[in-house]
Amino acid sequence: MAKRIEASGVTAYYGAFKAIDSVSMTIEPKSVTALIGPSGCGKSTFLRSINRMHEVLPGARVEGRLTVDHQDIYERDVDVTAVRRMIGMVFQRPNPFPTMSIFDNVVAGLRLNGVRGKAALEEAAEKALRGANLWNEVKDRLKKPGGGLSGGQQQRLCIARTIAVEPQIVLMDEPCSALDPISTLAIEDLISQLKDKYTIVIVTHNMQQAARVSDRTAFFSIEKTGDPGRLVEYDDTQKIFTNPAERKTEDYITGRFG
């Protein structure tokens, strides 16, 4: 299921602006990797490069090499939709489709993949909702709109929608930043469970969260506004938070900077 991500010299631009400069790192399968760093350091940009969502923005492009199990996802004749099916994404703000019911939201990706048949969809929906720890809360109102759920439930609905298509990798872009602490804990528990099946990369502003959920942590930073973001340090989470090699990392995690 889960796959290894290898980035080498990944550089991303918004038009003429260089957002990240030459990021190289290897992300192991079935692990949780946290990307931390101050605002504007390019951690989200790097995350969005992994499933080729960066290039959706006008003028945005990526250079360098990014492979998933040795397959270059930026190769010319790679089908970008196949890349995104393999690498799911959960966004900062819960974004269920507002016009769809809970059920339709969960199976939206499956329908895009051409899965038809009520039984198959129902089975997959239950599995995904159970996987997202949401089944018990919504099983009696699957036909109701997804927008009627609380923020935390909506975010778990989005996670269910993402894992329903059984991706190899799940990317999360500050998935808890719009949620209250209890919903945040629910999502963090979920991340620990999902790790058994998926490779997870999570961007977070919350360092306790990075320390709680991740196996490895990558610290990104910028010199000053307008400079591209760089990967400063990448190591076991334990090591980053207790004994970082770089002075900058230490300053950041102890709150002296950023």
Partner: protein
């Protein structure tokens, strides 16, 4: 009793008194007045239509709702709305069937496919099309479009004549097809620019949600843009329909002016309530005018029903918005 100053409270003393006649109040009354004006205008129009129509309807020798012809001379006072109402709805429906798919296509192209520069220019041209007066469309349709439509009609008649829509033996030319094509072009800009606005308002978060699931661009449009824009599309189509139903002069110039109920689109013929009013009003006496105003009342009612139906559709799934 106490201090009468309302602006400056003494330090640490009372809070300022609330102002009774400030800009707030004036603004509230202005908006209330504007809102009431709508109601007054509607009632005034309805009263005018009914008051003028009733005497003519009383002297009508035929059933107003089922009779198809329109005679209002002193000798022959029989007129009915059946053929006109049918023609109005038929030409408006055909016009929408032609215009809506094209309009939505243009709108999607402008909002999601075209490069910004092309999109701006083309959007401007579409708005320009909306500014062309209907008499110009009428003249253009009558003088330039009539021959191509005649050829098209003959072709449709030859190869699809087994369909009642395209049957008959001619002559072709000023027909429901010609009128509807001109109408379609006239309602195209309004439907296009409204739906483009709606499509551009689709939240980026929803579009990205679809793309991140592995949707192609068209799949993304189907899962996020179109459902999100649905009420807006209905409203746009509704406004187009309103214009198509009420369009007067362009149809008066392009329809064949017959008084029959027929689904045939290609043979010379067709008529509509508004076109009939335009054609007959000049030479009508008091009685004739009353009769035409009665037909106007029917058009008013049809438009009202269409509007209310569309609103009902928009609100039915409100839970999901």
């Amino acid at each position: 009793m106490t201090s009468s100053t309302t602006t400056k409270p003494a330090a640490g003393a009372m809070l300022p008194r609330r102002r009774r006649f400030g800009a707030e109040t004036i603004f509230r009354w202005l908006t209330t007045g504007a809102g009431t004006a709508v109601l007054v205008i509607i009632v005034a129009i309805a009263t005018f239509l009914i008051a003028e129509a009733v005497p003519a309807l009383r002297d009508n020798k035929e059933n107003f709702f089922t009779y198809k012809e329109w005679f209002t001379g002193p000798a022959d006072r029989k007129f009915g709305i059946a053929a006109l109402a049918f023609g109005t709805v038929l030409s408006a429906t055909i016009a929408l069937l032609l215009a809506v798919p094209v309009a939505l296509g243009i709108a999607l192209f402008l909002s999601h496919y075209a490069p910004r520069r092309i999109s701006t220019t083309l959007g401007f041209l579409i708005d320009l099309l909306a500014a062309v007066p209907s008499i110009v469309f009428g003249l253009w349709g009558r003088d330039y479009l009539v021959d191509p439509v005649k050829d098209l009609s003959a072709w449709l008649n030859e190869y699809m004549g087994w369909l009642p829509l395209f049957g008959g033996d001619g002559p072709f030319g000023k027909s429901v097809l010609l009128g509807s094509i001109v109408l379609a072009i006239m309602v195209l800009p309004i439907i296009t620019s409204l739906s483009r606005e709606v499509f551009m308002q689709t939240p980026k978060a929803n579009e990205e949600a679809a793309l991140a699931l592995g949707a192609t661009k068209w799949e993304m449009i189907r899962t996020s843009v179109l459902p999100y824009g649905r009420p807006g599309i209905i409203a746009a189509v509704l406004l187009g329909l309103g214009r198509a139903l009420g369009e007067t002069i362009a149809l008066a110039m392009t329809l064949g002016t017959t008084f029959v109920i027929s689904f045939n689109l290609v043979e010379t013929g067709g008529n509509s309530i508004a076109a009939n009013i335009a054609n007959k009003f000049g030479e009508a006496d008091d009685f004739g005018r009353g009769a035409l105003i009665a037909s106007g009342l029917v058009l008013f009612t049809i438009t009202l029903i269409v509007n209310m139906t569309a609103r009902a559709i928009v609100y039915r799934r409100r839970e999901f918005r």
